[in-house]
C-alpha cells in the first residue's frame, strides 16, 4: 500500500469534525489492511464508541474485527498486545485518559518494553486511543497525564489539534510498528468541522507543525490549546507583536529541531498545555530549550499549564490556559516584564 505522507495536508476533502475524521481514519485503515482490528468498550453498533469514532465499523467490517469488550481495561490492552504479537495491528479504545491508569501495567511494562526485552523479536504495533474529558466531569475524567507516557521509553504519544491532523496522525499510528498512544480532547471531538483529505494521507510521527510563523516569541502547544494560542497570536498581531505558534502534534518523539530552531530565531519561548505545569511536558521542553540555547534566549522559557490541584468540578474555578491569559503572558515575555 502506498500512503501519501504530508506535513500539512492541503487537499480539500470532506468537511468533518475530529470525531468524524478519526472515524474516517479507522475506516480507511481497516479497508487497507485486514490485520487492523478494533477493541474497546461499547465500540460496536449501535453505539460505535461513546465518542462515535468507531461508528459503523462493526457493521462494515464485522464483529470479528470490531469487538466490543467488557469494562476490562487490562484485558483490552493485554488483548491488543497479544494480538499484535500474533501479527495484527489492533486499535484499542480506552474511553477516558484517566482510565489508562487502570491498565498502565500493560501499557508501560508490556507494550512499551516487549520489543526491547526480546531483543527486537516482538514488536507491539498497537494504537491506544483515548480521550481527555472536558466540561462537567470532575477530577477523574479530565486529567492530562500525557507526560506520564512521554516518560516511558518505547511509547509514542500524539495529540492532534484539528480534524485533518487527527486523521493523518491516527493513520500513522496504526501503521507504525511501535505502540502509539493517541490522545484526543473531547472539547475538540465535536467542535469545528474542517476539510479532511480523503484516503490514506498520513502525518509523520515526530514532526511538529509551525501553524503561524512569527518573529518575536515562539509559543509551543498541542491538542486543545493550539487554537487559544492562535487566537492570542492574532490579537497580539494587532499590537504589533509577532508570535510564532508551533503545534507539536507528537509529544514523543518530540520534534526537538523545530523547537530549538524556532526559539533560537525568536529568542523567546512559552509552552502552553492543559496538563499540570509541575512536571508537565512543558518542563521537558523548557529544559531542552535552555540546554540548547542558554545565553541566546532573551527571557527564561515560560510555562502555562494547569495548577497543582485535581481538576475542580466547578468550572468557575479557572484552571486551563485561556486566550486572555496566553495573550498577557506572551505580551509580558516580549515586553520583558511579568505581570504575575
Amino acid at each position: 500500500m502506498t500512503a501519501l505522507v504530508s506535513d500539512s495536508p492541503q487537499q480539500a476533502g470532506q468537511s468533518l469534525t475530529m470525531s468524524g475524521a478519526l472515524n474516517a481514519a479507522l475506516e480507511c485503515a481497516m479497508g487497507l489492511d485486514p490485520k487492523v482490528i478494533c477493541l474497546g468498550e461499547d465500540i460496536a453498533e449501535p453505539i460505535g464508541g461513546v465518542f462515535k469514532t468507531m461508528k459503523g465499523l462493526s457493521a462494515k467490517y464485522g464483529a470479528d474485527r470490531v469487538r466490543a469488550t467488557p469494562i476490562s481495561e487490562q484485558a483490552i490492552l493485554g488483548a491488543a498486545i497479544g494480538a499484535s504479537l500474533g501479527g495484527y495491528r489492533p486499535v484499542a479504545e480506552i474511553m477516558f485518559f484517566d482510565f489508562t491508569m487502570v491498565c498502565a501495567d500493560q501499557l508501560a511494562n508490556h507494550a512499551a518494553k516487549l520489543r526491547y526485552m526480546s531483543g527486537g523479536q516482538t514488536p507491539v504495533p498497537i494504537t491506544v486511543c483515548t480521550t481527555i474529558g472536558s466540561g462537567r466531569f470532575g477530577a477523574q475524567h479530565t486529567q492530562s497525564i500525557e507526560a506520564w507516557f512521554m516518560h516511558i521509553p518505547g511509547l509514542k504519544v500524539v495529540m492532534p489539534s484539528n480534524p485533518a491532523d487527527a486523521k493523518g496522525l491516527l493513520l500513522s499510528c496504526i501503521f507504525d510498528d511501535d505502540p502509539c498512544l493517541m490522545i484526543q480532547h473531547s472539547g475538540l471531538l465535536f467542535g469545528k468541522k474542517q476539510p479532511v483529505p480523503d484516503g490514506d494521507v498520513r502525518i509523520p510521527l515526530g514532526a511538529a507543525s509551525v501553524v503561524r510563523p512569527g518573529s518575536e516569541v515562539s509559543v509551543i502547544s498541542y491538542g486543545a490549546f493550539v487554537q487559544p494560542c492562535l487566537d492570542a497570536a492574532e490579537e497580539l498581531a494587532t499590537e504589533g507583536i509577532s508570535v510564532e505558534v508551533i503545534d507539536l502534534r507528537s509529544l514523543s518523539p518530540l520534534d526537538r529541531e523545530t523547537l530549538v530552531e524556532s526559539a533560537a530565531r525568536t529568542g523567546r519561548a512559552a509552552v502552553v498545555h492543559g496538563a499540570t505545569t509541575f512536571c508537565g511536558p512543558g518542563a521537558e521542553i523548557a529544559a531542552l530549550l535552555q540546554e540548547e540555547l542558554h545565553g541566546r534566549l532573551s527571557t527564561p522559557v515560560r510555562r502555562l499549564g494547569a495548577p497543582y490541584a485535581p481538576i475542580p468540578f466547578a468550572t468557575e474555578l479557572e484552571v486551563f490556559p485561556t486566550t486572555a491569559r496566553i495573550r498577557e503572558e506572551l505580551r509580558a515575555l516580549v515586553q520583558g516584564r511579568r505581570d504575575d
Binding site: 482490528i37 487490562q74 493485554g78 488483548a79 497479544g82 500474533g86 501495567d105 520489543r115 526480546s118 531483543g119
Partner: protein, 340 residues
Amino acid sequence: MAISEHSGTVQDGVAPDGGTLRDMFRTMLVISLCDARARAEARSGALRAAFYPVHGLEAACAAIGSCLQPSDYLVSTYRNLGDAVAKGVPLRAIIAEAYGRIGGTSKGKGGPMHLADVSTGLMATTGVVGSGLPIAVGLGLANVLDGAGAVTAVTFGDGATSIGATHEAMNLASLWHLPVIFACQNNQWGEHTALRDYAAEPDLARRASAYAMPGEAVDGFSAVECRQAMRRAVERARAGAGPTLLEFRTYRLTPHSAVADASYVPPDELARALERDPTPTFRQSLLDGGLLSAAEVEQLEESARAEVEDAFQYALASPTPGDEELYRDVFADEHLVVGR
C-alpha cells in the same frame, strides 16, 4: 486422575505413547539438571541474576510443551525455565540470556525473567504477576482470526490467581470462546505466603465455573496425568470449544528464588513433596513399566547432562551486548532516539 470435585469432567485417559513419554522424560531431565545448575551458580554468585527455580514443576512444564506445536503460542512468567525448555527454546540461548549475553534469546537485554523466542512460539514472559494472562487472550484472539487451528497456553503461579488481570483475562477468553489454556502451576506459595493463607478459595480449578469454562485440577507430580489433562484442554481449544483452566497441583521444592530464605516452609510438608519429586518419580515409573531400560535411562541422563554443560559453556563464552545495543530495539527505527 484428580479432578476438582466442583468442576471438570472425567474424560478419556488415553495414555501417551512410549515415544512421547521418553521425550517428556528427557525434557524433565534437562529442566531439572539445568535448574539445579542455575541455582548453584546463582548461590555462588557466578550467575548474577534473580533466578526463580522450577524444581517441582518439571512434569507440568514437560506436559504443556509436549502438547503444543511450534505454531502454538506460549506466554510464561519469570519462573520460566521449564516452560521455555519444554517449548523448544534452544537451551544455549536460555542460559546465555540468564547471564545477560548477546547470544541470549533477547541479546542479553531481557534477562532470565524476560525470555522470548518467536521461532518456537514463546511469545512473552513477564516479571509482573498475572500480566501474561491478558496478553495470552490477545494471542488467542489472533489464533481465532488466523483460523489455522493454533492455540495459546499461558502459565502462571497460584499467586497470580489473586490479581485482577487474571479475572479480566479469564472472563474475556471465555466470553469470546478463545483457544486459550490457562495453565496454573500451583506450587502452593505466593512468594513467601502459603496459598491457604492468601486465597479465600484455595481450590483454584473451581474458579473456572465462574467463567463458564471447564476447570480441572491434576496431580502436578504425575507426568502422565499432567499430559492427559493438557491434551484434553488443547483438543478442546483446537476444536473451538474455548478456554480451559488447568491447575497443576504441585509443590515448590526450593526457595522462592535461588537465594531466598525458605525457613518458613513446614519441613514435613516439604519432605512429603520431595518424596514425589517429579523427575525421579517418572524415571522410576518408566523403568518399572519397562518403557525404558536402565541403560536407556543412563544414556538419556548423559545426553541431558552434556546439553546442560554445553549451554553453560556457550553462555559464558558469549560476549556481553555492546554499547550499540543500548538504544536499539527501543523503537523499530534503531536510529530514533527520543532522549538521552
